[in-house]
Amino acid sequence: MSFKLVMLWTDMMIFLLLAVALAGAWWIKQRPHLLLPWQRLFKSRVGMVSMLVLSLFVAIGLLDTLHYRAALPDSSNGKTVYAAEVLSVFDVLVGDLRNHTEKTYSAPLAVYLYAKESIETPDGKVLRDYPRLKYGGAHLLDPQRDHTGDVLKRSLYGVFAGWLGGVLLALLLVTFAAARSRTTARLWVETRQNTPLNAMLATLVLLAMLAGLVVNLAGAYHLLGTDKVGQDVLYLSLKSIRTGLVIGTVTTLVMLPFALFLGIAAGYFRGRVDDVIQYIYTVLSSIPSVLLIAAAVLMMQVTIEKHAEWFSSSAERADLRLLFLCLILGVTSWTGLCRLLRGEALKLRELEYIQAAQAFSVSSLRILSRHILPNVMHIVLIAVVMDFSALVLAEAVLSYVGVGVDPSTNSFGTLINNARLEMGREPMVWWTLAAAFSFMLVLVLAANLFADAVRDAFDPRLKRTGDAK
């Protein structure tokens, strides 16, 4: 099957971000003094466990970023025609989850539809009852009898397979690491103690068990139910992860150059430059951020409506809207970091090494880039990690207000927005909201814990007795 790669704008930003992160990691690895805080981070148990959970989210997000358009089977007159729908590698991996849509709501693990329908019985009578689902538990012959047993059996198998896989993976990793560092004995001792490595391995096994459970159940049932139009909620939630990650990371990527350059310049040059930059960020930060975002998004909608010809597919359009939202969020949120950096640069410019550089008539640009920039990077890193969770939460609120992502984009905000009236139904439809909120909670909680660990490792103001425990 042939396909055409599709590179959306946000995909490009994500790959750019990935490249920057990899280059940064390589750069830091060469320099022991930069490596030190990272080693402190690697020694924090909470930090490493939350990083493991976060990397699972990131992996799903990255798989969901490799987009393509499949070729249609009927290639008329020799030319290959591609489907209008933009899919991702993730869609392929989850396979049938995407296509298994029911008629309407169904509860998690249900075999019957949520709403009653007229069913024609074989003997010609019309019965008003809950019909069987097309896909959820379709393999059961007698759901009344087999349903609970089948679910239990599948969960047990899934958890066991996950446990087996997780343990094997953990063993493999430990052996691999030991072979590389030739310290097998020490590493084996370490895994028996309460170290980050041990906690990570335990988390890995737990995650593998969870994954086994989910995979085994999602194959035969709708694990988290279906929504109003019958789409699998698990699939929608997993697809929302990418949007959350994009909002949380691309936003900081676009605002970073502004905040860095303007903040440092204001602090270093002082005088007129400082006045102008301070004026700009006071004006921007004095507008309540929701209102500024709302105003900018309203205007963006007008522009997008006006230039319908810019987009060849609706996916591109939704994607550009997402990127614009990141830009707008970035413009409204850079002021805080800018102020921090200005303060730090004001402090740094009085230090001896900067004055020495000035005495040697090193150019200002060089002082900024060689002497000041590296010394504020820890602030930047802490701010970026801290902002992430706030941005993920903000996306949901903005989508509710109606100035968030495109309604066709899968995101936690759109999920919640579509489902918020469902609590009032009788019987209640709670699973979409529950799924969206739990996914968000896990992502944001992991991000918050990770941010704390990063701050503890990088903040020079914190007193440390010896090296980290």
Partner: protein, 325 residues
């Protein structure tokens, strides 16, 4: 003091001008009034006459900055900028799309917003500070750890969840108070109870943790050690010394938001159907009423700047070392 105040207020003017120019650029230059008209009237099958009528109704049919056809001062005053943007300086916000005066609407809607926001603010502040003090008192123990963990979990939960979950539990499951709605006078108590409760709970995580950090920073200072050396009990140290000194950083955050209480909370008001400024804003955003959004942006920044000035004044009250020059 008065000279300082005057200077601060004068300093606020350029910032307000900046906000004004920014909103003007955002609403009239990035997209012309023609685009806005087309967007609101529907993209297709819209006649130029309809657009002209839409513009005329809202007074958008004038030149942007300079009216070359007019004579004398009208050259500057008979323009969109003067009539729509500059007029906001005297808090003349014009009319919303449904023909009501925005200024009057703001004045009447301010009350319900305050009725919700003020109790939330006061109760919240007291609760957060007490909780943070409690964690500081038991610092380093299991209780402190549990408190911090609770805070991190609470602040990781979406504010939408607090509202939806709270409405469901308290109103739908237990039938304690009405789900939403608002009434003036003494009857309003029934309606404001739940929004206030939810607003307070939603803020526990981040605020308590923030105050705890401030308290911990103060606890490590020398004067605290001296106070303990004098033989003061830990409780007395906390309340007489630490709390008083921690008031300065706490005030920075707190006083600045007081004027913004007028604006109400977007989410709470819209979920609970409270006719305040928050729901006014959200309705305007959803109906794409540009005039109202513009007015709220200006009002919001004016209140924010007021908050900054109040913060400076409050400094002199709690910290006699600060002198306003």
């Amino acid at each position: 003091m008065i000279a300082y105040l005057i200077r601060r207020i004068l300093y606020a003017i350029p910032i307000l001008i900046g906000v004004n120019l920014l909103t003007f650029a955002l609403f009239f230059v990035v997209n012309t009034p023609d685009d806005m008209a087309r967007m609101q009237l529907g993209m297709k099958r819209v006649t130029p006459e309809a657009i002209d009528k839409w513009k005329q109704q809202r007074g958008y049919d004038k030149p942007l900055m300079l009216n070359a056809q007019a004579a004398g001062t009208d050259k500057l005053t008979d323009t969109i900028f003067f009539q729509k943007s500059a007029s906001m300086f005297v808090f003349d916000f014009g009319y919303s799309d449904d023909g009501r005066s925005i200024s009057r609407e703001i004045l009447t809607r301010m009350i319900p917003s305050l009725v919700i926001a003020l109790p939330t603010f006061v109760v919240g502040l007291l609760l957060y500070i007490s909780f943070a003090l409690l964690m500081t008192l038991f610092r380093g123990t299991v209780l402190d750890m549990a408190g911090v963990t609770l805070c991190v979990i609470l602040m990781s939960i979406s504010s939408l969840f607090y509202i939806i979950g709270g409405q469901f539990m308290v109103s739908k499951l237990w039938h304690w108070v009405p789900i939403s709605g608002y009434a003036g006078g003494a009857d309003s108590l029934r309606f404001i109870l739940l929004p206030v409760l939810i607003g307070v709970v939603a803020g526990i995580g981040s605020s308590s943790r923030w105050y705890r950090t401030i308290f911990l920073e103060e606890v490590g200072r020398d004067y605290v050690r001296t106070a303990r050396a004098k033989g003061l009990s830990e409780l007395r140290v906390l309340f007489k010394h630490v709390l008083k000194n921690a008031m300065i950083p706490i005030l920075t955050g707190v006083v600045a938001v007081i004027p913004l209480l007028f604006m109400g909370s977007l989410l709470t008001e819209s979920f609970f159907g409270i006719p305040g400024l928050g729901s006014y804003t959200i309705d305007a955003i959803q109906a794409q009423d540009f005039g109202v959004v513009r007015a709220m942006v200006f009002l919001g920044s004016a209140l924010y700047i007021l908050g900054l000035i109040l913060t400076d004044i409050s400094y002199t009250m709690v910290d006699p070392r600060v002198r306003l020059q």
